[in-house]
């Protein structure tokens, strides 16, 4: 091997090692943040709760174990699911502006939730069920429509179908908002649309765990393959892949967790759009690293935003507002930083 190659080797080892260390660092940061978040809150006073208090105060223990823990775990799932799905969608659709809910999933969920609030009452479980149902309906409709569209390739057809189905549901949502009782139902719809994890309990967390766990596991296992599936169809085929069925598996594995977390948390914007960008800034585009990085970053970000949403004011700040606000700031900061690429 030539001198150039052995030099290349040293650099490749160094870079791969480097990326692993950053991933480990992110994971460690996530664990630390998780533990700290478990202790932070507004009981008994704004600030951190002490171990001593947890061991002595029954109420404090219940609060930490039955309210904060499921809520934090859900925030973790929310952030990592949306970010992983966003990474997958952006790669498969070859479009960095795509976010995971765009195949009719977000708008479908919103429509389902509003439908429930207007006609079936505001029970949290019922809203979640309807949102999940219509999220899946949105995806199914998009897929069926894409199969009938006679224009463009597979990717373009799905995008077009997703846009059409989303528009349909958002029109329906408009009708429901118009019909809703402006004093009782309309605020509830608006609040759901802003997103949040305030009513999170163990059963609700457990209800989304299977779908998210399975989806995320599949995505993690396929994470290198995603690079190949992002190529044009005939090129992916020439490398021994079966582009259409494999992409479908990836899409379903990305959409299921998305639909699940949207159904409990409402519209939490920006996470799925920008976390993949930040992950690519830090790790490059190889999804072997970008996908786990996006999941860790998403988890960190969602937990951080949720902490702020429940601690800063005595009342909750809707999570969607915080993710958009903080997300935009972080995003602009990272994209304009001249040092952003030095880590790669």
């Amino acid at each position: 091997m030539s001198a150039a190659t052995s030099e290349a080797w040293q650099q490749i080892y160094a870079r791969n090692g480097h990326r692993r260390w950053i991933l480990l660092g992110l994971a460690a940061g996530l664990v630390t943040l998780f533990v700290l978040s478990l202790l932070v809150g507004r009981y008994p006073a704004p600030g951190f709760i002490s171990w001593q208090r947890i061991s002595q105060d029954e109420l404090a223990r219940l609060l930490v174990l039955n309210l904060r823990l499921p809520r934090l775990l859900t925030a973790l799932l929310l952030g990592s699911s949306l970010s992983a799905a966003g990474t997958v969608f952006q790669m498969l659709f070859g479009n960095p502006l795509v976010e995971p809910g765009f195949l009719g999933v977000s708008q479908g969920a919103a429509f389902g939730a509003a439908l429930c609030i207007v006609f079936l009452g505001g029970s949290a479980v019922l809203i979640q069920g309807m949102a999940a149902l219509f999220a899946c309906a949105g995806l199914g409709l998009s897929y069926l429509l894409a199969r009938r569209i006679r224009y463009g390739g597979w990717v373009l057809r799905l995008v077009l179908a997703g846009i059409a189905v989303s528009a349909l549901f958002s029109a329906g949502l408009g009708v429901l908002k118009y019909m809703a009782d402006p004093l009782r139902q309309l605020p509830e719809i608006t609040f759901w649309l802003l997103g949040g994890l305030s009513a999170l309990t163990w059963p609700r967390f457990l209800s989304i765990l299977p779908a998210t766990a399975v989806g995320l596991l599949v995505l993690l296992l396929f994470r290198w393959r995603l690079n190949v599936l992002a190529l044009s169809e005939e090129t992916a085929f020439s490398m021994g892949a079966a582009p259409t069925p494999e992409r479908l598996v990836m899409l379903i594995a990305a959409v299921l967790p998305t639909a699940a977390v949207i159904s409990v948390a409402g519209m939490v914007g920006w996470v799925g759009l920008i976390m993949p960008h930040i992950a690519r800034r830090l790790f490059g585009s190889d999804t072997r690293y970008t996908l786990p990085a996006a999941m860790l970053l998403g988890g960190l970000f969602a937990i951080l935003c949720d902490d702020l949403s429940r601690t800063v004011l005595a009342g909750e700040i809707p999570l969607g507002i915080l993710t958009s606000l903080l997300g935009a700031v972080v995003f602009v900061g990272l994209m304009t930083s001249p040092r952003a690429k030095a880590t790669r």
Binding site: T5, R15, W224, R225, V228, F237, S238
Partner: protein, 258 residues
């Protein structure tokens, strides 16, 4: 004596069942260790022929064989290990490094859930060396020149360690120096035993590198055989409907037109 690596017998293919076939009763053989160039006007079916060879398109009727076996009998992964494609151009939207990109060529050797190993990375680096750009390995695919990108695609195909290399218009976006480089790379690969099937719009390139040439028009083969016999002033004039002459200059054949 060279043996055919791939044969086409009476192959018929079209994109629309109700329409006219694009490839109509095609017979041909690709000899092991040779470079074959497909020439013909736009719409002659050159790229379609390439995709049939790849197994991406399936013929309506007729037989295609690879190493004596029916092409349809190969699994996708086996095909990926035997045949590699250098596409004409590829849209790059994300900033993979050159090495990460070339590493994708190892996909046919990995199970769907697999990750490339150090061996795969070595093979990818060697592929980059073979096309003469190992120093680019850590550059972003978006930051290198168009000519270098074409070489990266070639390296990715080489990382597949294929028997047969398909190349769609390998020189169409290249400047003179990169054309020269690519021609030499193709010749070098032939020396190492590779079989290459390429489409081209440039009779010069076909004359410079190919052993055999296939002249196509409207889905049919007009002439096929050793390049010097196939690419002549008469055949080119007939296919492209413009007066073409081929003149020997300094021991090489030059194509004159206009």
């Amino acid at each position: 004596m060279t043996t055919p690596l791939m044969t086409f017998q009476e192959v018929v293919f079209g994109y629309n069942r109700r329409g006219r076939p694009v490839i109509d009763g095609l017979d041909l053989a690709l000899l092991q260790g040779s470079i074959t160039a497909i020439l013909g006007p736009n719409g002659a079916g050159k790229t379609t022929l390439l995709y049939l060879t790849l197994g991406w398109l399936r013929p309506w009727s007729g037989k295609i064989t690879l190493a004596g076996q029916p092409l349809a009998g190969f699994s996708r992964r086996a095909l990926g290990q035997e045949i590699a494609l250098i596409p004409q151009n590829e849209t790059h939207r994300f900033e993979h490094t050159v090495l990460e990109y070339v590493l994708l060529g190892r996909a046919p050797y990995l199970p769907p859930l697999g990750m490339p190993t150090r061996t795969d990375e070595t093979i990818a680096l060697q592929a980059l060396e073979r096309v003469g750009i190992p120093y680019l390995y850590n550059q972003s695919i978006l930051e290198i020149s168009g000519g270098e990108r074409q070489l990266v695609l070639a390296a990715r195909a080489l990382a597949q360690e294929p028997q047969l290399l398909l190349s769609d218009e390998p020189t169409s976006h290249l400047d003179l120096s990169n054309k020269f480089r690519l021609v030499n790379i193709l010749k070098g690969l032939r020396e190492q035993g590779a079989t290459i099937l390429m489409t081209t719009h440039e009779p010069d390139i076909a004359l410079a590198v190919s052993d055999y040439a296939i002249l196509m028009a409207k889905g049919r083969v007009l002439a096929a055989g050793p390049t010097q016999q196939v690419i002549t002033g008469e055949t080119l004039s007939q296919v492209y409907q413009v007066p073409v002459r081929i003149v020997p200059v300094e021991g090489k054949s030059q194509v004159l037109w206009m």
